[in-house]
Amino acid sequence: MWQQIRSNRNKSIALVVIMGVLLILLGYFLGLYFLDSGEAGLILALIVWVIMSLIAYFQGDSILLSMSKARKIAKEDYPRLHNVVEEMQIASGLAKIPDVYIIDDPAMNAFATGRDPTKASIAVTSGLLQRLNRDELQGVIGHELSHVNNRDILLMAMCSVLLGTIVILSWHASRFMFWGGMSRSRRDSSSGGGSAQIIILIIAIVLMILAPIFAQLIYLAISRKREYLADACSALYTRYPEGLASALEKIAASAAPLKSANQATAPMYIINPFRKEGMAASDLTSTHPPISERIRILRSMAGASYADYNRAYQTVRKSRSSIIPASEVAAAGTVSLRAAGTETREPEPVEEQIQRTRETTDLMWQMNHYRTIDCDCGVRLKMPPSFRNVNVRCPHCGKIHAV
């Protein structure tokens, strides 16, 4: 079935294997240096890796959801969102409707999590929900559901565990090297030292520095590839690539950063929450492909099939390499686009609402002769006319202001 993009999966798995080899090398040489036994280091590295993998496999989704402060919703709470998830679940042929979560944040973003398609969850920020029309929401949800359907989530979770293990090992090893230098030199003198020791030291240091960087680059390469594929799947599910394109455009234009995101959870979102303006097109250090490029690919699709996405990808990137394997392109046949949905509601941007409310209430305070002081932390202190104290303390940051 077209959900399974096998050959691409194989390439991703090859990259994961390279990360695994990096971890093994790192463990072996650090073991050789610190414990005089490569095997011991190897076993230690594998133990750390297995424990972290188990946690990620069984607890990963709940950890991610609680870190991003998502709350689960029922259909009655947000019927439109829930219906769109159901619609895309039908279009993607997913066996079970994923749990739907809301993150109360004016930023626009979304992610999916869960180790397999029957235990999946999908989280959407309230900002996204308020500002996207139905077609755009379908595009975003379709993108997330295709991560579920292609089992990208498990792949990325396992990758990030490998990366995390490599980073943690290197970090602790470098600390040990600095602070444990004394005991090290004592052992050196007893074992006699020699050029072999120095070579091991050099290899260990080089691995300590380079392994995390390489692992990170591999991880990002896998992540970017999965994003293109999810875009292609979303276009196929909705038969309307313009929906996702204009959603991405709106998300890119919204300035509000997502407060609950951090570097570790960044690749899970539909766009990188830490994106910077004017990112280079071939940026190796990015979790996601540049949004402008994703939008251009989606907009230059002639139909909705994988073949169309592939052609658009090649035209926009001016490269001959395919993002989707030839076998999948041939099997899908021609798929025509559909017309835009009929729901044209354009919800009002939340931030403008908040801004307007603030201005209005400030006006009310002024009319009642309240005095205001703007604190550096962004809070506006309001004091009634009867306020007689010389100083006032900001309730947010604690700074003392003279009235």
């Binding site: 079935m1 019927p79 039908i90 559909r338 729901e343 044209t344």
Partner: protein, 188 residues
């Protein structure tokens, strides 16, 4: 026994396993097609269930549109009666229901009181979504049929398919003219 006998037995066993694999794959695809077909039914039935509610809600507000309301109820009852009939008749009835429904909702546009009714807004969302679900379940049905037909018609699985009596599935073609257009359930 001579070694070549073992080689032949080994080859036969491998062929049998490949055969079993392909056969099971075909059965899985055929079940997927059936499942996808059932999904369309579920959504059509959901629309039938929503309409009496809609008519009840709208009735109090649109006093002068008795004909439009009756047309919807009639189309809905006819579609429900034909739900076990052939695909052709059925899709015609459902098509008529779609157009009757869109007429009613267009009429509802000119009643601001109705558009402020929470119950109506909830029904509007449900109907929009059900229309989308109907078309997405059709789309998915056609996708599964395509996948199944590819298996039935391409080598080597076509050999197993002809031996096991697997026949190519039919695509869901929209016949009624009204159905071919995008369902207009918008009242923004």
């Amino acid at each position: 026994m001579a070694p070549w006998i073992w080689i032949i037995i080994g080859i036969i066993v491998i062929i049998i396993f490949i055969f079993i694999g392909i056969y099971n794959g075909l059965v899985r695809s055929r079940n997927q097609v059936k499942n996808a077909w059932a999904q369309i039914d579920v959504q059509l039935k959901r629309r039938h269930d929503l309409i009496p509610n809609l008519v009840e809600t709208v009735k109090g507000y649109v006093k002068h549109e008795r004909e439009t309301l009756e047309a919807v109820t009639k189309a809905r009852n006819l579609a429900q009666q034909l739900s076990s009939a052939g695909a052709g008749e059925r899709s015609k009835a459902e098509g008529e229901l779609s157009s009757a429904l869109s007429r009613l909702l267009a009429v509802a546009e000119s009643y601001p009181d109705l558009k402020a009714n929470q119950n109506f807004l909830a029904l509007q969302e449900e109907l929009t979504s059900t229309e989308n679900k109907i078309s997405f379940s059709r789309q998915f049905y056609n996708d599964t049929v395509l996948n199944y037909n590819n298996k039935v018609q391409t080598f080597p699985s076509n050999i197993v398919a002809s031996m096991g009596g697997f026949k190519a599935g039919e695509f869901f073609e929209v016949t009624a003219a009204a159905e071919r257009e995008a369902p207009k359930v918008s009242f923004s």
